[in-house]
């Protein structure tokens, strides 16, 4: 499985990662190894097998539409480095 340097740069951009030249080289090789490993599964003979759409064969795990209020919001807000007026505060997002 070959993966190009350009593809690594594209994926890094999607993940909002800044990679150095050296890291790009390294991840290209790493990613190739991962893909080769995963490729094993592509070689499994699936002829005559029906399609699955999930990793297990359970289905319809559903919840009733009933409100349960979570009381400890303070604790959740505390996980963020900065909050104010009951909201998470983050650096200014420029909204084109």
């Amino acid at each position: 499985m070959a993966i190009s340097k350009d593809e690594i740069i594209h994926i890094a951009n999607l993940a909002c990662l800044n990679l150095s030249e050296e890291e790009i080289e390294r991840y290209t090789l790493d990613m190739q190894e991962i893909l080769e490993f995963a490729n094993t599964i592509n070689n499994v003979n699936t002829e005559g097998m029906s399609e699955t759409i999930a990793a297990n064969n359970k289905s319809n795990v559903l919840r009733k539409d009933e409100v349960k209020t979570f009381e400890n919001i303070e604790m959740l807000l505390k996980n963020a480095p900065s909050q104010d007026e009951g909201m998470f505060r983050i650096p200014k997002v420029i909204n084109n």
Binding site: H10, N13, L14, A15, C16, I53, A54, A55, N56, K58, S59, N60, V61, L62, R63, K64, D65, E66, V67, K68, T69, F70, I73, L76, L77, N79, S82, D84, E85, G86, M87, F88, R89, I90, P91, K92, V93, N95, N96
Partner: protein, 479 residues
């Protein structure tokens, strides 16, 4: 005006917030408003280790939407992750549906100048809404409120079948009406519970290939959608005529200048790297489940419209208008049970009630009075107790305070004068004061009669019975 050697092609992706009590993957309330982050929990705030559990009502409502728009329901469905970074999306992915949406291949019928037209629906899928970013005016940063994060949405994707801004508006209004009828959403555009991504392209007439499209996201008013489509189509035609090419990109519509602007998206912004959501299991629906939902579908606007025309003699225009909103249609049905005069009720809704709402900048669902009041009002007109001029005044009163119309006219002293001698007095007085009009009438100017009746109405502050006035003036003038 769009040049007539070009054709505009529009596709709409309509997002509709479902009116379930709780969010799609957790038990937090979906109630609108509320203090920031008070309708949140570890799941919708994306705390590590939490797991989503699908709300059964979301599946039910989406299937309902599919059935009401003639879709095929996918019996084996699943959820997928759509990956992108934005601070209103705490998980950095949205749980949506990719290749197995719950509903496929439906259509809705719209009315156009050339008659009825079917607009095809490619798919309807379920997904979660994002949170809200509040931009601080003092430059202290951006504030994140996750109350809306995880509110259930359906996304309805149309085929590129729409050919004008007018058709796009008609399609959106039809979807809104259907969703109101089946009661899966309050469809309040001003609150963002119904909004659309609008795709526009143009091509030379006769061309089979689609032109390059641009997209305007999150439009939430009919007026702006129409303006944005017209502007964008003209801009694209001008670019092409000037020898330029259209770039596929997201545009921002600016309300105030009435123009679209490039958002300068990164090339790869659209690469969402969808993959099956490993935290959720498949959705398998039985025929029985689907049929049971089909049985709960109420009568839809299309059918009501047909009934109003055939059984009640409403014009195409009136039937369309009244059924375009569930509130109007329910008001109509309730009223005619009382007064048995569908034509007058239809006209009052289409002309006066719509006009007053418009003046007040309100929507039909903000009407406070019901068919009980409107039905009685029409009965009072039919019995001759009040004139239609007074009826309009009673309507205005109903918008201020809900009371029975009989009570209003009694309190205001608006009961119509149908007493012959009282009317005769007025007629004689008006004739005496307007000798010129009598001369005009005798000289063949029929308009003079209208003037005299108008004067008599003024004299009685609109309370005189207009038919009686008319007849009595004629009798006197022709003596």
């Amino acid at each position: 005006m769009i040049r007539d050697d070009y054709e505009v092609v529009i596709g709409l992706e309509v997002h509709c917030e479902l009116s379930t009590k709780t969010k799609i993957f957790c038990s937090c309330s979906t109630e609108f408003g509320g203090e920031p982050n008070t309708h949140c929990c570890p799941v919708c705030m994306a705390m590590p280790g939490t797991l989503p559990v699908l709300n059964e009502k979301v599946v039910e409502y989406a299937v309902k939407a599919g059935l009401a728009t003639n879709c095929t329901i996918e019996k084996n469905s699943k959820n997928d992750r759509k990956n992108y970074f934005y601070p209103d999306l705490p998980k950095a992915y949205q749980i949506s549906q990719y290749d197995k949406p719950l509903c496929r291949e439906g259509y809705v019928t719209i009315e156009t100048d050339e008659g009825e037209k079917q607009i095809r629906i490619e798919r309807i899928h379920i997904e979660e809404d994002a949170g809200k970013l509040n931009h601080d005016e003092y430059g202290r940063g951006t504030f994140v409120d996750l109350n809306r994060a995880g509110v259930p949405l359906i996304e309805v994707v149309s085929k590129p079948d729409l050919r004008s801004s007018k058709e796009a508006e008609a399609y959106l209004r039809k979807l809104k009406a259907i969703f109101e009828y089946i009661e899966i959403s309050d469809c309040k555009m001003e609150q963002g519970s119904l909004r659309a991504d609008v795709n526009v392209s143009v091509r030379k007439k006769g061309s089979k290939e689609l032109g390059t499209r641009t997209e305007m996201k999150n439009m939430n008013s009919f007026r702006n959608i129409v303006r944005a489509i017209d502007y964008e189509a003209e801009r694209q035609i001008e670019e092409i005529e000037n020898g330029n090419t259209i770039e596929q990109e997201s545009l921002r519509w600016d309300d105030i200048s009435g123009k679209t602007f490039s958002m300068r998206d990164k090339e790869d912004a659209q690469d969402y790297r969808y993959f099956p959501e490993p935290d959720l299991v498949a959705i398998n629906l039985t025929d029985e489940y689907i049929e049971n939902i089909r049985k709960t579908l109420p009568e839809l606007p299309e059918s009501r419209k047909k009934r109003y025309k055939e059984n009640y003699g409403l014009t195409e225009k009136a039937a369309n208008f009244v059924t375009a909103s569930k509130c109007y249609s329910d008001l109509f049905e309730e009223s005619i049970k009382i007064c048995n005069n569908p034509k007058t009720v239809g006209n009052l809704i289409m002309s006066d009630i719509a006009r007053i709402l418009n003046e007040r900048e309100e929507e039909p669902d903000e009407l406070k009075f019901t068919g009980k009041e409107l039905g009685e009002l029409v009965t009072l007109i039919d019995k001759g107790t009040i004139s239609s001029a007074i009826a309009k005044k009673v309507l205005e009163e109903l918008f201020n305070e809900v009371k029975m119309p009989s009570k209003i006219i009694e309190e205001k002293g608006w009961i119509q004068i149908s007493d012959e001698s009282a009317i005769k007095d007025v007629v004689m007085k008006v004739l005496e004061n307007n000798p010129q009009s009598i001369a005009d009438y005798k000289a063949g100017k029929d308009k003079a009669l209208g003037f005299l009746v108008g004067q008599a109405m003024k004299e009685t502050r609109g309370k005189a019975n207009p038919q009686m006035l008319n007849k009595m003036f004629l009798d006197e003038l022709n003596k």
